[in-house]
Symmetry: C2
Subunit: 334 residues, 2 copies
DNA sequence: TCGTATCATGAAAGCGCTTTCATGCCAAGC
DNA sequence: GCTTGGCATGAAAGCGCTTTCATGATACGA
């Protein structure tokens, strides 16, 4: 990378050992006397030896690179994606892996396929939001280790890590009931998206548990954008709801803003709960929201990918998400 | 990457040519008969040949990887960072480069240094927000191509691409004047940050141009978070301002929310302008903001990095930013 | 007609590292 | 005292590609 890189051979020469020994010493492989190892390491440090990743990759077959696949629009417009990528990046770094960012910017799928193939990463962490589902499966079938973050569609048979949306959504809905809400709407995403589906199912289940009837007209479908939240306001008012469970913070924020604009008191007249626990929830009125355990998800995903690399076959993991009560749901007892 | 990768040698064998010729054919190098090139390419396609990046890197010294350095907190909490990374990622992909994400997660600087060194990228695109300034300079001095996005501190002598904050800030301030504001505050970031400084300077310059006195107490220093915006509200009210120019959308949003919470009309009593043009500006009340040309910045940064790789010494570039008028500044004529 | 410049092609030398495999050394066991 | 096993070490063979360099073929001009 720099102009005159020090190589393993240099290091070995300076230490008066063979490059094989130097390699073993650096990498903590057995078969080196402790004092030799120590010396090699010290010299490496002092002459600024940095192993060449590509050479390592070529020789060992391991690139120590993890590919991260997200929809491009997601990164730019959805704080969830940003938080998730950040978490994965940190976790990967901690595990000694570099992070190769693959943004699906509407490129033709075959190009994406080729891109991912030649990226040279050891494996892929793919967002359930990513569009290239079938290509991912094909890659996985071709032997590329893949782990999903978020809940992928059920026909994808690959390990994933996700937060427990179903019960979190139950909890969120119950929370509104506890606040005295009687007519709660569900502002969800496209129901063919498993995460949206889970949250919707939780909403329904909460009603069942509470013995409340559920009216299908109370389900409003959005597209996870703030604009969708704003757009839903009219419908929500028409429905006469006193509570809204949104499928993400962006839509929740849109709803709150739209309501406030119209002079509707939040949470006084209508209480709102979001989902994700991103930065977008954190300014006033602070959203009540379900906080995803981003760091934990990132860490588990990386760990699972490494497990696959090591020949194991880890199962999917579902992590608990936590309801964080903010300003938009707690109303004076009515 | 997959289990039994096809190599250049395979391809060459199938085509009945040497691997040298195959390589030349694939890479569009001269010295191959058109029909041979065509055949090699067709066969490559059909047998699914994908060149091994690491091998290419090792042999040619070019990794086709760009390292992108951002503060980790930035990605998670600042839509600006997400948008910028997205733009860079797209631009890099378009130019045939992969994107290696380096998040400064508070790791000790030497580790960052080593990390960047051994990442094996051809060069670095560094956010002006990144903390590792001196390490970056050291890397650059060691021969690593570096381009900054955003305005780096003046003592960093490396090429950068940024949006023109100074005149954009003038424009934003003038806009408030045009809306009838008489007492405009500047909610800025730490003034040792060049981008904050630029925006502050523009604020001052706008006053000079308008022949208005500028009161230092009208400058409120925040830290680019929504919380800072909220926290500034009290001060702003005390100052009796009727307009606020914030240094980013997050703070502007915080201010607006804080004001609305207190029942202050926006823009009726106090008009607010943000900066960045991120997704956080786009829900009601839609922020009037200065939109950064993210994609253009990303593209120029990548182009400049490639220029450096090609031995050129590109100069810094300053791109125009555009004021986008939303709901938070346009008031009925008073 | 022959010499020479031109060009497509292949052989082979690495790029910097990991990893057998063989070697030489020593301590333990007979 | 001599064999055997274990262990630290080095030599060397690649990993898959790019890139001189040499070669043979072709076409050109004289």
């Amino acid at each position: 990378m720099t102009d005159r890189p020090t190589t393993l051979a240099d290091l070995a020469r300076v230490c008066g050992v063979s490059s094989a020994t130097a390699s073993r010493a650096i990498n903590g492989k057995p078969g080196v006397r402790p004092e030799v190892r120590e010396r090699v390491r010290r010299v490496a440090e002092s002459i600024g030896f940095v192993p060449n990743r590509s050479a390592q990759h070529l020789a060992s077959g391991r690139s120590s690179l993890i590919g991260v696949v997200f929809p491009s629009d997601g990164l730019r417009s959805d704080p969830y994606a940003a938080a998730m990528i950040d978490a994965i990046g940190r976790a990967a770094a901690k595990a000694g892996f570099g992070t190769l960012l693959h943004l699906e910017a509407g490129a033709p799928p075959e190009q994406v396929f080729a891109m991912l193939q030649r990226s040279g990463s050891d494996g892929l962490i793919v967002s359930a939001l990513a569009a290239s589902a079938m290509w991912i499966s094909e890659l996985a079938a071709a032997g590329v280790p893949v782990v999903y973050v978020g809940r992928p569609s059920p026909d994808v048979d690959l390990p994933f890590v996700t937060a427990e949306s179903f019960s979190a959504s139950i909890r969120a809905t119950e929370h509104l009931f506890e606040q005295g809400c009687r007519t709660v709407a569900c502002l969800t995403g496209p129901l063919d998206r498993p995460d949206a589906r889970d949250r919707y199912d939780g909403f329904v289940e909460a009603h069942r548990l509470a013995g409340l009837p559920i009216d299908d007209s109370l389900v409003v479908v959005g597209d996870f954008t703030a604009a969708a939240g704003v757009a839903a306001v009219e419908e929500l008012l028409r429905l006469g709801v006193d509570g809204v469970v949104a499928a993400n913070d962006l839509m929740a924020r849109g709803v709150v803003s739209g309501l406030v604009q119209r002079g509707v008191a939040v949470p006084g007249e209508i209480a709102v709960v979001g989902y994700d626990g991103t930065v977008g929830a954190e300014f006033p009125p602070v959203l009540t929201t379900v906080r995803q355990p981003f760091d934990a998800i990132g860490e588990r995903a990386v760990a699972m990918l490494i497990a696959i690399l090591d020949g194991e076959a880890p199962g999917s993991e579902v992590l608990a998400a936590e309801l964080v009560v903010g300003d938009t749901s707690v109303r004076a007892r009515r």
